[in-house]
Symmetry: C2
Subunit: 135 residues, 2 copies
DNA sequence: CTATTATAGACTCACATTATCTCTAATAGG
DNA sequence: CCTATTAGAGATAATGTGAGTCTATAATAG
């Protein structure tokens, strides 16, 4: 039960794009330079974020990636689900009775967990990160 | 980001042991009969629950497994952590700065998630399951 | 003593993650 | 129009983990 490395790269890329949002497009090679990850691999991850509508890409010279229009609304949950997909944490009882009391209980906790992640906006984290120098 | 099948088997076994708690020891073959799982595989999972102190085993003829002394206190979290171990959902920022704002945010949500699972007692679920016939 | 039962270890298999490499398409700038 | 630059898509491989089987060992009741 853990998040993939791809999600880790996606989250840090989103945070970086948000902090340096005023600077226009950023190429994948620059974004990869901030993390220990190859450009081609990070590119595949960013494509998922593009398809989810969280960022916009422009091919060609001087192209790259930038945040979508209302980028202030993007949450940690948006990024995680864009990379990991929608399947729930606990989905093994489907073959059993859907009224399984264990499934109901875990999904209740899971719902709260996802909702909390849905309240955490990248823009707010970027604001905090500016005060604590690290990125 | 999901729970393993082993955890699924462990949770359903614990629920079954709790519902039929008065009947003394139950063999692994009987416990496996309630789920689509082999005895040897379920046995490995139950050994984890024994080492975590959630259940007690008795080898030999007429042996088997039964719940520990204060079995009423066992929660979903106890079972999950006994099988999955302790590593957190988001543990990739360790190589970076531990003050990473992303890690802090996700771990905060994770903490609440685990705490909620820690309030859900198997004994209570067993009580509910008795009213909704399924197990 | 024997049947029964848990425990431990070695082992296999399938699948998802994590990449890398290569080719293609699109675009800016001269 | 040409060229360098850049994103995107596909094939492929390596790696690790989960899932599961098989066999042998230890302990216990009767």
């Amino acid at each position: 039960m853990k998040l993939s490395k791809s999600t880790h790269y996606a989250l840090h890329t989103m945070l970086h794009l948000t902090i340096s949002h005023a600077e226009g497009h950023t190429s994948v090679s620059k974004l990869a330079g901030h993390q220990q990850v190859s450009t081609t691999y990070l590119s595949k991850i960013l494509t998922k974020l593009v398809k989810a509508g969280l960022i916009v890409s422009v091919p060609g010279a001087n192209g790259g990636y930038k945040l979508k229009a209302n980028w202030q609304e993007t949450t940690l949950l948006d990024v995680i689900q864009a990379v990991e997909g929608l399947p729930p944490i606990f989905d093994y009882c489907e073959d059993h009775n859907p009224s399984c009391i264990i499934q109901q209980s875990i999904q209740k906790a899971e719902k709260n967990f996802l909702e909390e992640l849905g309240t955490m906006k990248i823009a707010d984290l970027a604001e905090d990160a500016r005060n604590v120098p690290h990125h």
